[in-house]
């Protein structure tokens, strides 16, 4: 990818020789992997619900599976975004729904009970991964620092706030192209208006 994008650079522009560590952490990468997985699974559920219901002995539930597919795609998009924390926790919620739905199909009279068992185990494994990812991302991106530093001593005015107030009015003229429309300035004292537009 880097060599392709180098086409857009000039000869003198720096090119990457060796890459360093990424700002993405391990949990961010896990979130991305789960996000793409979510989109893949969601597409499968959306496009091939009949095969899925047949494999699980859940014929007649195709619309439900399609709905779950849309939901999975939503989780995926959110997990791939900067709001990945919300995405992963929404996946955990979705996992609970999937487990409940599969459990309802894990009946002795279901001829595909074995497949449902495998699916339950798989979803349980994914749920574990989702939990690890959600907790990891929450912890990695948690706002830290508390209230101990408020920077209330950082005015930025070395001569003090009182001297700073209006100090630039003494020697600065607002350029004509940036003056307010007359309606906005009409109520200002005429002297000040004249000073700012001179």
């Amino acid at each position: 990818m880097l060599s392709i994008s180098n086409i857009a650079r000039s000869e003198g522009d720096p090119k990457v020789l060796r890459s360093g560590p990424s700002s993405r952490g391990g949990t961010d990468e896990l979130a991305r992997a789960l996000g793409w997985f979510s989109i893949g699974l969601g597409l499968a559920e959306l496009l091939a619900p009949r095969q899925i219901t047949r494999a699980l002995g859940m014929e007649g539930k195709e619309m439900l599976v399609r709905g779950y597919g849309l939901r999975e795609i939503g989780h995926g998009i959110l997990s791939l975004s900067p709001d990945k924390k919300a995405g992963l926790w929404s996946r955990v919620g979705g996992d609970a729904l999937d487990l409940a739905t599969l459990a309802s199909a894990y009946r002795p009279d279901n001829p595909k009970r074995g497949n449902v068992g495998i699916a339950l185990a798989a979803v349980a494994g994914i749920t574990l991964l989702d939990l690890v990812g959600a907790q990891g991302v929450t912890s990695r991106h948690r706002r830290t620092g508390g209230d101990h530093r408020r920077y209330r001593d950082r005015s930025g005015f070395p001569q003090g706030l009182q001297r700073a107030r209006g100090a630039a009015r003494q020697d600065f003229r607002v350029p004509p192209d940036m003056q307010a429309a007359p309606t906005a300035a009409a109520l200002s004292p005429s002297g000040d208006r004249a000073a700012s537009t001179a």
């Binding site: 003198g12 360093g20 209330r152």
Partner: protein, 391 residues
Amino acid sequence: MKALVWHGKEDIRCDSVTDPKIEEPRDAIVRVTSCAICGSDLHLFHNFIPAMLPGDIVGHEMMGEVVEVGSGVEGRLRKGERIVVPFTIICGECDQCRRGNFSVCEKTNRKKHLADKAFGHTTAGLFGYTHLTGGYPGGQAQYVRVPFADATHIKVPDGLSDEQVLFLGDILPTGWQAAVQCDIQPDDTVAVWGCGPVGQMTIRSAILLGAKQVVAIDRLPERLGMAEAAGAITINFDEESVVERLNELTGGKGPEKCIDAVGLESHVSPLQPDTVYDRAKQLLMLESDRPHVLREMIYVCRPAGVISIPGVYGGLIDKFPMGLAMNKGLTFRMGQTHVNRWTDDLLRRIEDGQIDPSFVITHTARLEDGPEMYKLFRDKQDNCVKVVLKP
């Protein structure tokens, strides 16, 4: 050399890259002594601004020492001189530059054909800010090539530290221009949305320009505390209604001047349903920017007031209350900063001790720690307001 390189969404790395070379006679090479992470770099970090490519060096707030100049610089810049590099690359001679509209310089975007298609007409080239604005390598690096260097520089005296002058390249003139284009009058209330680094500079500029009262709006205690230090009245939007409080502070009339120092990534909160709506549309790629602050400003601004927008927007917004804006007769002023239009004046104010922009720096780190500092800055960890990197 080492440089911070964009590889994709939330993927910045400190890479080893080839050194920049002089390409054109008006180029110079600068050894970067200090650079900073800007709030607008986070829009790239989140991949909200189009036309970044893997391998692009980021960063547009930098300064350093000139180590090489091209043959066309003609004595206007010499080896060994200490300069701040403005983030807008300027030729200094086109129609727009002659008018002082440096951020829309007609000559410096080397990918003008892309900008002409995307924007209708080209704007200036920018450092480290997508291929729509030239794809120029940025300054979060040990060295940076400065195109049109004979015009694109701010010479700084040795008596001032890097920390005092670094922000002349972006956030100080950006905050200044945001306030100046409000044409502040002594009886004006100026409301500033967002107390990040640009917001902080805007607040101080409004104080210097003599506003009756400056109101700062944010939700992070450290940013509100820093705003209070400069004499601003603060509103924590997590705790109270912005509109109600602004009306209360202005006798029910609303502030005359409203400044958006937030831009396209306004905070998402269930308490403000339009922000959730915007985020959902953004995720579905149905709009690119979240304009909650614009909506609120237009609603609360006093009729015939001024809306000033230094915050960066990248593309399309939805549910923009144009009817309110039109009927209230609001004036809108916006744009990237015409950096060099203001820097002589601002440098003098720094030298005179009127303002010291270094107040905003809360974290200083090595360039190698840059990727981690992006995360820290984005996640508002450790009470971070502004990061300076030392290559």
